[in-house]
Amino acid sequence: MDRPADLVAAWRLLAVALVIVVLSQLLGIRRIEVGIGTILLLPLLYAFLAGLVLNPSITGRVGKVLGRREVRLASPLIIVAILPFIARFGTTIGPDIEAVIAAGPALLLQELGNLGTIVLAFPVAVYLLKLRREAVGATFSVAREPSLAIIADRYGLRGPEGAGVLAVYVVGTLVGTIVFSVMASFVASLDVLDPRALAMACGVGSGSMMAACSGALAATLPEMEDTILAFAGTSNLLTYATGMYVTLFVALPLVEWMYRKAHPEDTRAAATPAATSDEEGAR
């Protein structure tokens, strides 16, 4: 950020972000009733969508407001901008520390909930959509940065497994916040699962997914806001601490085993890195 052009780009990016933030916040929370449940539209969703609309990679150069230089600068700012938010989460855990520790075993066990992706997504990917090795990378985890590292390490990112994990990573980046906030407010309004359980489930993905998810939960159940934040924050912290081991030592071997059951004829050794000459690698 030391060249003058970068400095101009940085100011322009911040000004655009400020306008987006103010307008999104002024729009406020909107509720949509859908039959048996409620979907909440949150300021953070408007901000994300406004960012997409003004992003030249998505819509071309809309009115030439921003260019590629600004897009490149925005990427590291995501992490920086989420830090005060994460700090706020941490400060809700401290006062509730006794309740969090009492729920410790549940918090640790729900990391196994990662396996829910295998139960739901793997059969659809392999039996319904007829995906091959891509399915292994696509369904073994929720595909955030640690999962990319695991797949890169085991198979390389250029093979079919890499294509699978990258595609799901990108889907998560593109629509993760939308899916999580809609899903959380809807499931919470059904009133069948413990709100603390839903709060823990909010912590399984990236920081911005947790923001969208716990925000929607807290807006649906405002009287439980502090508890929701404490449990979501702790769960997200544990995702970094223990979740990676669940994906590496339980989820990935399980998906490999299920894939061998589904395709016993596919003898390609799991450890062969990035041999992309078979039919799905050439896609």
Binding site: L52, I58, P76, L77, P95, L120, V171, G215
Partner: protein, 164 residues
Amino acid sequence: MSATPVDDVEDTQDERLSLPSEMTALLAVLPLGWAAQLIATDLSALRAAAGVLALGLIAVIGILLTRALPFLRLPSVAWVSLVGIVASLPMLPWGEAVVGVVGEIDFLALSVPCLAFAGLAISRREVAIAKTSGWKLLVVGVLVLIGTFIGSALIADVTLPLLE
């Protein structure tokens, strides 16, 4: 994470900032969070500024710890979260004062700047990946998100009553 195949992904996704740049960036995004607070809460401009600055300070300590202890390989969000916990523990002398300053800060409004940058940062590469990987992997991606959420929620819902 220095293996070559990851590099081009990180190039677009996770550009590492130098410490001065990271501090400057943090200072630059705090006013956005402050502006959102003014609209979302009834806090006075001064109270909102104090709360956002206190959270910024927690973030700074977390960033410094991330860089001081790289061998633990914890990401900065984990460190910031831990610092936030320690700062707000009621049994420690500063706990109540910290909660007094940041307790009224609306966390939902605080997430809005981050999501604005997330939308602005989607790169051409990511759009290209989404286009070339086809609709099947997009369907699978959404199912992965739903499956993880429901899986975690179900396990937690079953185990929580056992602890009470």
